[in-house]
């Protein structure tokens, strides 16, 4: 199926999802659905770097929060609409991704991973000390009641924006998979030395993957302030993003765009249900246990359990 047809299919699916949510008529569906969509975007963004090239980013929360806090800053200084703030958040996060990559991607992958962990800690410290965005006390964002688009409820509008982002991210991920770039990423994952010897510009591709992945995570974080209306560093940099960013693709399967989607829908819905019935710390524990369990027992994730010993080996 060509890329264009895939995008059309995605758009149809997105429209169907929106229509289904609308017909249920309960605002909660949009609230919960937003979170799941956000995780689909985050998990797919993570996989572009982690699953395709094999470089593990533990700092998902950092890039995500960068997007959220860019919105806070822009909201205070300007009156830009959210669809403009999202790409700007993406650019900010993308630049930080590029910078981190530039400093660490010439070394082995473990150093990159450690640097992303440390980055999250440092950024959280910096933001906590930055009074302009509220510091540790947090920032309040007023969520309008209605959006400019068809005068719909704002939460529906946020849902729609996230849906649009998911379409973009999924289309990008799949396009990469089937392109020359996707092959290049795969060789980096399989054997970087052999890739270089075969003419693959590994550093350039790694930087590209890191920037793209970080940018998409930033875009996923940009609408957050409007969603939560109160944003403090603890929630922006929440552990939930760190672990879900890694767990969802690994549980779903890293070899294709579909894996993170499965992981995000499964774990995301699980957590939405669990938060209501049991404590949120306990449901994070479950995610952590699933991550460790899957990584030991089913390294190719759910996708891997259903794929026969086919042409594509484990990612």
């Amino acid at each position: 199926m060509s890329g264009a047809k895939f995008v059309v299919l995605l758009l149809i699916a997105a429209a169907a999802v929106f229509a289904a949510a609308w017909s249920i008529g309960n605002a909660y569906v949009f609230f919960a659905g937003y979170v799941v969509l956000q995780y689909i975007a985050l998990a797919t963004a993570w996989n572009i770097l982690g699953g395709y090239t094999g470089y593990v980013n533990f700092g998902t929360a950092a890039f995500f929060a960068l997007g959220a806090y860019t919105t806070v800053v822009l909201h205070k200084l300007t009156s830009l609409p959210l669809p403009i703030m999202m790409p700007i958040g993406g650019i900010v996060a993308g630049i930080v991704g590029l910078g981190t990559g530039y400093l660490t991607l010439r070394l082995r992958g473990a150093f990159f991973s450690i640097a992303t962990l440390a980055l999250a800690v440092v950024l959280q410290t910096l933001i906590t000390n930055w009074d302009f965005v509220g510091g540790s006390r947090g920032a309040y964002i007023v969520r309008p009641a209605k959006a400019w688009l068809f005068d719909m409820d704002y939460i529906n509008y946020l849902f729609l924006l996230m849906l649009a982002l998911v379409v973009i991210v999924l289309a990008t991920a799949r396009a990469i998979e089937r392109s020359r770039l996707g092959y290049g990423f795969a060789t980096i994952r399989d054997d970087e030395v052999a890739a270089e010897a075969s003419g693959v510009p590994t550093l350039r591709l790694k930087l590209l993957a890191t920037t793209l992945s970080g940018a998409f995570m930033g875009m996923a974080g940009a609408p957050l302030p409007y969603y939560v209306t109160y944003l403090d560093p603890a929630s922006g940099f929440s552990l939930a993003y760190a672990v879900n960013g890694v767990a969802m693709p690994l549980v779903g399967g890293t070899s294709s765009w579909l894996g993170p989607v499965i992981g995000a829908i499964l774990l995301g819905t699980l957590q939405q249900v669990a938060t209501v019935t049991i404590s949120s710390a306990l449901n994070l524990l479950i995610v952590g246990l699933m991550l460790v369990g899957f990584v030991i027992v089913a390294p190719n994730g759910i996708l891997g359990l259903f794929q026969p010993r086919a042409k594509r080996a484990p990612a």
């Binding site: 473990a110 150093f111 962990l117 800690v121 440092v122 000390n129 672990v243 306990l282 952590g288 030991i296």
Partner: protein, 291 residues
Amino acid sequence: MEMSLDLLGNAVVSGLLLGGFYAAVTIGVSISFGMLDIVNIAHPAFIILGSYIAYIGNTVFGIDPILTSVIALPAFYLLGMAVYQIYYLAFERRGQEALRGLAFFFGLLFITEVTLVLVFGVDYRLVDAPYIGASLHLGAVDLPLRLLVPCLVALVLIGGLQAFMTRTFIGRAILAVSQDQLALRLMGANPIRIKRIAFAISIATASLAGAVLIVIQPVEPSIGRDYIGRVFAICVLGGMGSFPGTLVAAMTLGIVESLTATFYGPSWAPAVAFGFLLITLAVRPAGIFGR
């Protein structure tokens, strides 16, 4: 910002003492990452676990925290053996360390933190011991005992490990396995068993490091993440498996952090460690003493 010599002197001394503590925290990673090439990013989680066990020993049983950690050493040793065994069977043997092994340790880090939150909550916990709060005064310089005692414990730990590594058969086998596994096999030793022992030792050090941590500062579950950057920066700067190198690097970081905290405020400490890490990686991945 007054640059008084007294202030400077005290900052440097605090930094040195803090550095000794950082060395104790890092020594486990010097073994697991520096020598065995296992990227155990969960090491700080084991340290925090050690802190809480010291806390329980102290508040429930009234035992000195450092003594508690010594009592807990065998349990940590066994835990380390179990963790390595899983890591080896699931990842090292299959060649999957780079992505999945790393994710495994991240999962452990995460599970430990969340479990501690569930059991103890997010409040800061501290311990009570006769040397916390008192200070030695040497002229213009203060030596807070809560920093001095951990530093001394750290030096004893590192000195002991160095002696173990160079003088016992197992210790030398560990050094050998870090350099040439094939040669070790030809000598009749089983490299997997040696690595398991080494990894278990590295986790055992976390017990002591944790006790020493909660003596120095109050502890809550998320503190572990602050230490990841520090620990790997010190390990790399110290030349990966070199214990003397780790000590020097740790003290360097301790002094820089202490000076920053004294003159710019304590909240910048993680940023200092991160900056250290980046500079180390960018400039000198072989470290000061390294290979």
